[in-house]
Amino acid sequence: MTDDQDKDLLKRFRDSSSRNMAFSELVNRYQERLYWHVRRIVIDHDDADDVVQNTFIKAFKNLDRFREDSQLFTWLYRIATNEALTFLKGKRKNIFVSLDDVSHHLSSQLEEDPGLSGDAIQLKLQQAILTLPTKQRLVFNMKYFDEMKYEEIAEVTGTSVGALKASYHHAVKKIEAFVKQPF
């Protein structure tokens, strides 16, 4: 399932003499994609930075056990998604609301975020995405922004392709309805 470059990385990672070099290449290859995936979930840059670091630390510790049943990047996405959701659960404890209600907190954080470009429609779109239930939001982000196939998203989320299609459909309709509301 893994492509040739990933297979080569994994082979070198399993050799103790080239282990660190191989992992450094792996980080370099996937860091940006994982960062944006995590950033869309946790919104704040510093939080995303922490989550991405933890993701790669976990990947390093568990890569020996990666059986190559799935693609390496979907395996990394799964770890990153779990880390990001765990982070949000921790945040929920601090603000005493449900995980989905964290989106309201993130939405207000979004408006204050100096790291967000000033484009009004972009802000509105991100706010609309944050109104989605957590799983719908994950599916929408991976499908729309990361342009992943449903089969790949299924590997990350452990959800059937049919359910993912339905989830994406609902997400698009909700976002359109939200954006149509007056600014």
């Binding site: 992992f23 980080v27 390093f60 975020d113 967000l116 429609i121 342009e147 449903y150 309709k173 976002i175």
Partner: protein, 157 residues
């Protein structure tokens, strides 16, 4: 990794805005963030591999289970300690009884108690007059190597 799946899926349609403008990244990162990210992550990975340089003993983690184990051991010892032996030692009981009590309990006379070695001859403080000459002769005749003179002396013939 462009999407090659069927085109029946819904397209996000927002006020005629192009997909490209909608997908433009809304977030910013500090300058040079990704250039420095790999070395920072590798540093974190190496740090996570290092065992803690100064592993502090968590005394609480040691003491609490120790107290627990000690309490269990103490309780077990207390409850399982053998109670005073309910079956008294035969020799001790025997020693605590007087010859009269023993004779009454066993329904044996003094000579039988001696012959069964339940009492020694020296312990007999009974009035010798309570024994008939015949009893004395019978007792002494059971003892080996007792000379006739001894028997005569005992019965003061």
């Amino acid at each position: 990794m462009k999407n090659t799946e069927n085109h029946n899926e819904p397209k996000l349609n927002l006020k005629g805005l192009s997909e490209a403008s909608l997908k433009r990244n809304a977030f910013k990162t500090p300058d040079g963030y990704f250039e420095n990210l790999t070395p920072r992550i590798m540093e974190s990975v190496r740090a996570s591999e290092q065992p803690s340089a100064n592993p502090k003993y968590n005394w609480r983690r040691i003491l609490v289970p120790s107290f627990g184990i000690a309490a269990i051991a103490l309780t077990t010892w207390f409850f399982l300690l053998p109670a005073e032996n309910p079956v008294p030692n035969f020799d001790v009981v025997l020693a605590s009884l007087s010859v009269e009590e023993l004779a009454e309990y066993t329904d044996l006379n003094a000579s039988e108690l001696v012959s069964y070695e339940l009492v020694s001859y020296n312990e007999l403080t009974l009035d010798e007059s309570s024994f008939s000459n015949q009893e004395i002769i019978e007792y002494l005749s059971t003892e080996e190597e007792i000379e006739l003179n001894t028997i005569i002396d005992e019965i003061e013939i």
